[in-house]
Amino acid sequence: MTVYWLCFILFLTGLYGVITRRNLIKIAISLSVMEFSCFLFLALMGYREGGVAPIVDMADPVKPYVDPLPQAMVLTAIVIGLATTAMLMAVIIRIYRKYGTFDIREIKNLRG
């Protein structure tokens, strides 16, 4: 149970970072922390104590297998997370070229 709580605390740490950090790169890192806490949670759900990889062996078909579905989900989600992070980084680099700063307080053209 503790491990799930740690996972949730990691998620909240990421959320805290997104809300409080002022540097754009640090916001991107905090988002990655949130992302990986989700992946960790999904991977933990499929884990079983003493489980083996779910490849059915005809000689001895009944074994404690780990759940393969969350692993497939995590792989898909990692690919999506990669795309999100790459897109965010591209935008941050463009912002740095236009505004000359990573400080989010300086970037305030739009308001109202």
Binding site: F11, M34, C38, L42, V91, K98, I107, K108
Partner: protein, 512 residues
């Protein structure tokens, strides 16, 4: 098992990649490829709406049939409700592409634009069709990432700032959804929406049940820009190129936000009164706060963006009223009326808000400004833009005979009949403030002639742009026909039935 259903996702995906590759070698062709893709999609989605009718059809990808009533594999589900949303996506998409042919000529790298556009359509169609919660997440991310890129398409200071806000909040929303999906898989041991419903109704509703609901409501609420989560919407919708604003406001917040909220809370969770009251409150709040934020704006597209929040509030509120009545188990016919009103308003909002954003784009195209104080007297120079935007303004303010009047009437009548007098009064007051705000828009942009201020060189926009605007203005008038008794039963009622009949959705998939 209708073989046309997967084409709705496959065609725009293929269109996106082919546009990117062929556009490299033959310049000028991407726009026509995107147009052909959207025409094909419009044809297929209307064919499915007419041919499918009230019946739902389930497509199992790869032919993985349910085993002992337990669905395995991925499912695409086309029923009354998703058919309507698919038609909205294709029609607004087709008209936006037509409009872009002239509008996007000012921008560079046209093939990227049309490629991302097709990708966004593919994502939204996937979200609407998918019957599997993780698949919804994947398609949602496809739609979201391409829309981040499209918002930033101008790559100037404002666009980049808007897309940064949109991306950070969108990413937080996505991770909340992913976390909720993890919890759902933990407690239900399945990802199929119909099967999750069965698992939840057979117990398994621990304390985490409420946590799942709150996480999903927050996640999809951020995507739909309900009021406490609305901060990104005015920036993103006003900074994007106008055809994209029309797509974002007219379609994206509905397909990936409102549609999924309605689908999950009706067909996946059992409706509880507390959650129904929460959803109604959020709807009423965004309806009222959105319109008050809108009235002080001078930037046209920002004004329209805040009105999107307010109009989406109507949809959420009336669906919420339906949920409250259903959870109490009384007056089911009034609940059906409220839900019908909500869905009808969602369709109407796509038509008039799409049109208003296209009008704003036309004004920006001709005058080069978005500030209402720098305009005036455009009615003489741009007669078609002026008349179509008048139609849209009357429609959003709820004046007869335009479509907005009928849907707001249904919502208010349902609220009164369900004894929600306060919400009915609030809906009427918000409608009046909307009218005031759009009178300001009309007066400053099109009438209000100050001598010496009119620039003679302002001309009407090119034909493709006019074509989409006039089509949408006609749609604003014709959609009011959906309120007529004969037509309502065949178009809106199937959508309401699939939401009202709690067991129908899951039974058609598990085959029991």
């Amino acid at each position: 098992m209708n073989p046309l259903i997967p084409l709705l996702v496959a065609i725009p995906l293929a269109g996106a990649f082919l546009t990117m590759i062929i556009g490299r070698f033959i310049p000028g062709i991407p726009r026509y490829m995107a147009l052909a893709t959207m025409l094909l999609l419009t044809f297929i989605s209307f064919w499915l709406l007419v041919e499918g009718g009230a019946a739902s059809s389930v497509y199992t990808l790869g032919g993985w049939e349910p085993v002992d009533g337990v669905p395995i594999g991925l499912y695409l589900i086309h029923d009354g409700f998703s058919a309507l949303v698919l038609c909205i996506i294709s029609v607004i998409g087709l008209l936006s592409v037509t409009y872009s042919i002239s509008y996007m000529a000012r921008y560079t790298s046209e093939n990227y634009f049309y490629s991302l556009f097709c990708l966004m359509i593919a994502g939204m169609n996937g979200v609407v069709l998918s019957g599997d919660i993780f698949n919804i997440f994947v398609f949602l991310e496809i739609a979201a990432i391409s829309s981040y890129a499209l918002v930033a398409f101008g790559v100037e200071k404002n666009e980049l700032e808007a897309t940064l806000k949109y991306q950070v909040l969108g990413a937080v929303a996505s991770f909340m959804i992913l976390f909720a999906i993890g919890f759902i898989y933990w407690s239900a041991k399945t990802l199929n929406i119909a099967d999750i419903r069965t698992a939840f109704s057979e117990g398994g509703q621990g304390n985490h049940y409420i946590l799942i609901q709150i996480l999903l409501l927050t996640g999809f609420g951020l995507k739909a820009a309900i009021i406490p989560f609305h901060a990104w919407l005015p920036d993103a919708h006003s900074s994007a190129p106008s055809p994209i604003s029309a797509m974002l406001s007219g379609v994206l917040i509905k397909a990936v936000g409102i549609y999924v909220i309605i689908r999950l809370f009706f067909n996946m969770f059992e409706i509880t009164e507390g959650m129904a009251i929460l959803i109604t409150t959020l709807g009423a709040l965004s309806m009222a706060v959105g319109v008050f934020l809108a009235i002080g704006q001078w930037d046209i597209k920002r004004l329209l963006a805040y009105h999107s929040i307010s109009q989406m509030g109507y949809v959420i509120m009336s669906v919420g009223i339906g949920m409250i009545l259903m959870s109490r188990g009384i007056r089911n016919e009034i609940a059906a009326l409220a839900i019908t009103g909500g869905i009808f308003h969602m369709i109407n909002h796509a038509a008039f808000k799409g049109l208003l954003f296209l009008n704003a784009g036309a004004i920006e195209y001709s005058t080069g400004t978005r500030d209402l104080r720098e305009m005036g007297g455009l009615a003489k120079c741009m007669p078609f833009t002026s008349s179509t935007s008048l139609a849209a303004s009357l429609s959003i303010s709820g004046l007869p005979p335009f479509n907005g009047f009928f849907s707001k009437l249904i919502i208010i009548v349902a609220a009164v009949m369900g004894h929600f007098y306060l919400l009915a009064a609030l809906a009427a007051i918000v409608s009046i403030i909307t009218l005031a705000s759009f009178m300001k828009f009309q007066r400053y942009a099109f009438y209000n002639v100050e001598p010496g201020k009119i620039k003679k060189e302002i001309r009407e926009v090119p034909v493709p742009m006019l074509l989409s605007m006039i089509t949408l203005a006609v749609a604003c008038l014709l959609l009011s026909l959906l309120a007529l008794p004969g037509i309502r039963e065949s178009v809106l009622s199937p959508a309401t039935d699939i939401l009202m009949d709690q067991l129908k959705y899951s039974s058609q998939i598990t085959g029991m």
